[in-house]
């Protein structure tokens, strides 16, 4: 019954860490592109908030919908 509780924090961290790192990479790419974009669809600060607080989906939404001059 208590086997599940005995998973300690460091082990949990080592499992979850790659997820966090990939999310951070996505977020950084999105932020850099957002900062460099001449024109975004909608105000830029709104996209920065979406990217920062929308986790994976915020970054994806920016990649797909954020930039105007992109097919």
């Amino acid at each position: 019954m208590n086997i599940n509780n005995s998973i300690d924090l460091s082990q949990m961290l080592s499992i979850v860490l790659p997820l966090i790192i990939i999310q951070l990479i996505l977020m950084v790419i999105a932020l850099v592109l957002c900062a460099k974009a001449e024109q975004t669809r909608g105000p830029k600060w709104m996209w920065i908030l979406i990217i920062l607080f929308g986790n994976m989906f915020g970054s994806i939404a920016f990649f797909i919908f954020g930039r105007r001059n992109e097919g």
Binding site: M1, N4, N5, I7, M12, I15, V16, P18, L19, I22, Q23, I25, L26, I29, A30, L33, M56, S59, I60, F63, I64, E70, G71
Partner: protein, 281 residues
């Protein structure tokens, strides 16, 4: 003698033309890939697939703890919860790719032809001596590289994590289900390219192709006996291929053939539409 020489010359000329057409096609593919790289699609789409792939095994590994923390369950339910099998988790991962992955891929590919046509870049390119086949074909090839690369990266990541956390699954099953599922996503991307040629609006292209894919798999799900040969059954075959109980049945080959036929037909139709509309303009 002279006739044969002329004949030889003719053959040589023709083969030279063909190689140059292939050379042009390769150059076009290279340009498309460069564009994918410049827009960072070649980077973020695989990352999203890897994220989706890792998330499934991790969340099913932590599921008992999550449920326990939520604390609404009666005593003993969690202890008696069956542990998921590795193959089960991988089939769930494929389902994730089938929803979020399909959405991302369709949205990435939606503007592939219509975007260039709306901005006028297509007419600049098509002035050059490039056949419409290589124009559509190069875009399609680049998208396939993106699709298969992302799917393979995400699925292998999922396989690695499943083996680590839940239970190992033989690599053979992974490869076969990867190939079947890749064909399914290829169908999606091809339909998106086709609709992108047909419709001016990128969003319309994305949602038409997602709609087609959804209808395919819905019909194959409702009528498995009658429509087991249809391409909609492919995702189901992929789930079966990874769960060790392969019951491919008689229709498996037909599903592949029909999917390939639709892919070829959609590409030919895209070229035909492009030719018709560019001669009208």
């Amino acid at each position: 003698m002279s006739v044969s020489a002329a004949h030889n010359g003719n053959v040589e000329k023709r083969s030279f033309n063909r190689t140059s057409e292939i050379g042009r096609f390769a150059a076009m593919v290279e340009k498309e890939l460069l564009e994918l790289l410049r827009s960072f699609k070649l980077l973020w789409v695989p990352l999203v697939f890897i994220l989706l792939g890792i998330m499934q095994p991790v969340s099913s590994y932590f599921m008992p703890i999550i449920l326990e923390q939520a604390g609404n369950l009666p005593e003993g339910v969690i202890a008696n919860m069956p542990k998921p099998q590795g193959a089960e988790v991988l089939a769930q991962t494929l389902q994730q790719f089938g929803t979020l992955g399909v959405l991302v891929l369709a949205l990435v590919c939606m503007g592939v032809v219509s975007g260039e046509r709306n901005s006028g870049a297509a007419s600049l390119i098509l002035v050059k001596p490039i056949s419409l086949y290589s124009y559509i074909g190069s875009k399609w090839t680049a998208m396939l590289v993106l699709t298969w690369g992302s799917l393979a990266a995400g699925y292998l990541a999922a396989w690695y994590y499943t083996g680590l956390l839940i239970g190992s699954v033989p690599f053979k099953d992974i490869v076969s289900s990867l190939l079947i599922y890749g064909l399914w996503l290829t169908l999606l991307v091809t339909l998106t390219v086709f609709f992108s040629t047909m419709l001016k609006s990128p969003a319309g292209a994305a949602f038409s192709s997602i709609g087609c894919i959804a209808v395919f798999s819905l019909l194959a799900g409702i009528f498995p006996k009658q429509l087991g040969w249809s391409p909609g059954a492919l995702s189901g075959f992929a789930y079966q291929a990874v769960s060790a109980s392969i019951m491919k049945g008689d229709y498996f080959g037909w599903a592949i053939v029909s999917a390939l036929a639709i892919i070829a037909g959609a590409l030919a139709a895209a070229v035909w539409l492009l030719r018709r509309s560019s001669s009208v303009e």
